[in-house]
């Protein structure tokens, strides 16, 4: 089964949040479980990016691409990029893959590729 990353839509006003928060940022609806998970869009454009050379100890690679992407539909997200020559504004597609391993734990997240 393909993995999904979800955004959270307020059942009262429809505002979509990523990441999750417990009270709606838009209408202030203050009830538990008032958000509906909605899958994030799988395409967007590169807002900004970096190549990080000074990596946290869990990462056994010489460098890591990181980026902020404006997804189609309005949500903005942070993730890893695997693009050789990234440029701001470039169209990207999103895959959900393992982004970090610590010990036996595998964490899934968004990886951006050239569309």
């Amino acid at each position: 089964m393909p993995r999904e990353i979800y955004a959270y839509k307020c059942r009262k006003c429809g505002h979509v949040h990523y990441p999750y928060r417990m009270v709606c940022k838009n209408c202030g609806k203050n009830e538990h479980n008032e958000f509906e998970p909605v899958p994030l869009s799988k395409s967007g454009s590169l807002l900004t990016f970096t190549t990080l050379y000074s990596l946290p100890p869990d990462f056994e690679v010489p460098s890591l691409g990181l980026a902020i992407v404006a997804l189609d539909g309005g949500i903005t997200v942070t993730g890893q990029h695997r693009i050789d020559e990234p440029e701001t504004g470039m169209a990207v597609r999103v895959e959900v893959e393992v982004v970090r391993r610590d010990g036996y734990d595998e964490h899934y997240g968004m990886v951006f590729y050239k569309a």
Partner: protein, 393 residues
């Protein structure tokens, strides 16, 4: 409700370098200096700023250790953790305690001992303040957030790597005049940007940010003692008023901000600190801004109201932010040159401003400085504390 005026009556600081002392002693040493400076040991309450004691040094409940090591029991004491803005938060809390009338004399000391671990572990420890699911799992660190922000700023406002290098050179060389600073190595644009060796001397840490765009990992402590006007007049040190405090927060995950080149929490905290003091940015003679990354000094100089948005790098080019300029920024060396022991930084900024307003700053004295300002930046701008100070006759 009427609030009382609050004054700084004593200041102290350690060298910001590698300190082979227990964390509690790094907090206590500047406190001893500050009590000597104020000429009093009558302290009603302590606030101790620290971010990493529990994680990096395996010590919790730091305030209880510090109050006892200073033989100030049974005074009340709390540890205050607000990431890299812990120091500013502790000063703000001390201000509230005196302004409210709850206490007359409050000690605010801060310390960090980050070099007990290596640089990568220290960076990873600071990275735990990013959003756990939306940022941290990806390997996001503070330098990487600063780098992505820098790229946007470059594209929108024409800031270049040369501007960033100018901040690095200005602040690191200013630190040569500060005996307590971490870095005492003169650098030049030639050496870190233009020469054939520059790419080796100054590699990318997170493109477009290079090694010399990032502050060092430091140990260190700093202290200010705050008091009511009555106590301040009795003590008899030059009267420096903590005239205004401001604090604001922003989204935890950086990508959620509406305009990714705004630092709204800085803008709001600064406006509040000015408003409470009845001052404006034009009144400020000397400022200490949170240059954990060179880009931040430029952007904070705009968001705090000293220069129009997008023009901070132009003021830098004109030399307005150097010692002798219209508004000297980070004459202490800033985080870049003095160093950044996270929990102590906000208090070290206050130390420098009081030192300047008293006219005791020696070779790095800003002439006739009467109003000072600090900006202590927590997270990547998600929790910011600003302070204004005013010399009184």
């Amino acid at each position: 409700m009427t609030m009382r005026d609050v004054y700084v009556i004593g200041i102290g600081i350690t060298s910001f370098t590698r300190l082979e002392f227990p964390l509690s002693e790094i907090a206590a040493y500047p406190a001893m200096m500050a009590m000597k400076d104020a000429g009093t040991r009558e302290i009603d309450h302590l606030y101790v700023a620290n971010m990493g004691g529990g994680r990096v040094n395996h010590q919790t409940g730091l305030a209880s250790a510090v109050v006892d090591t200073l033989s100030l029991t049974p005074a009340g004491a709390e540890t205050i953790e607000n990431g890299p803005a812990s120091g500013g938060s502790a000063v703000k809390t001390g201000y509230m305690a005196v302004a409210s009338g709850l206490h007359d004399t409050v000690m605010v000391t801060g310390a960090e001992r980050m070099r007990e671990v290596n640089n990568l572990e220290a960076t990873d420890f600071v990275a735990t303040l990013t959003h756990p699911i939306a940022e941290h799992i990806y390997g996001v660190t503070l330098p990487s957030l600063a780098a992505m922000f820098t790229r946007l700023y470059m594209e929108k406002y024409g800031v270049t790597e040369r501007h960033l290098a100018m901040v690095a050179v200005k602040n690191q060389n200013a630190a040569l005049l500060n005996e307590f600073a971490h870095l005492h190595q003169r650098i030049s644009i030639e050496g870190i940007l233009d020469s054939p060796e520059a790419m080796t001397n100054n590699p990318y840490v997170a493109e477009p940010l290079r090694f010399f765009d990032c502050c060092p990992v430091s140990d260190g402590g700093a202290c200010v003692i705050l008091a009511s006007e009555e106590v301040a007049r009795k003590v008899g040190r030059p009267l420096v008023k903590l005239a205004g405090v401001g604090q604001a927060t922003d989204t935890h995950a950086v990508h959620e901000r509406e305009d990714p080149t705004d630092l709204l929490a800085v803008r709001r905290a600064a406006a509040m600190a000015f408003e409470r003091a009845g001052l404006t940015p034009a009144d400020v003679d000397v400022a200490e801004l949170h240059d954990a990354f060179t880009i931040l000094e430029i952007v904070e100089s705009e968001e705090c109201g000293f220069f129009p948005k997008g023009e901070g790098h132009l003021a830098l080019e004109r030399g307005e932010t150097a010692l002798g300029g219209k508004l000297p920024i980070n004459v202490s060396g800033g985080l870049k040159g003095r160093g950044h022991p996270v929990g102590a930084t906000g208090i070290a900024q206050a130390y420098e401003i009081v030192h300047q307003l008293r006219g005791e700053a020696g070779e790095r004295q800003v002439k006739d400085a009467r109003v000072g300002f600090t900006c202590n930046f927590g997270g990547f701008g998600n929790n910011v504390v600003c302070l204004t100070f005013k010399k009184e006759d």
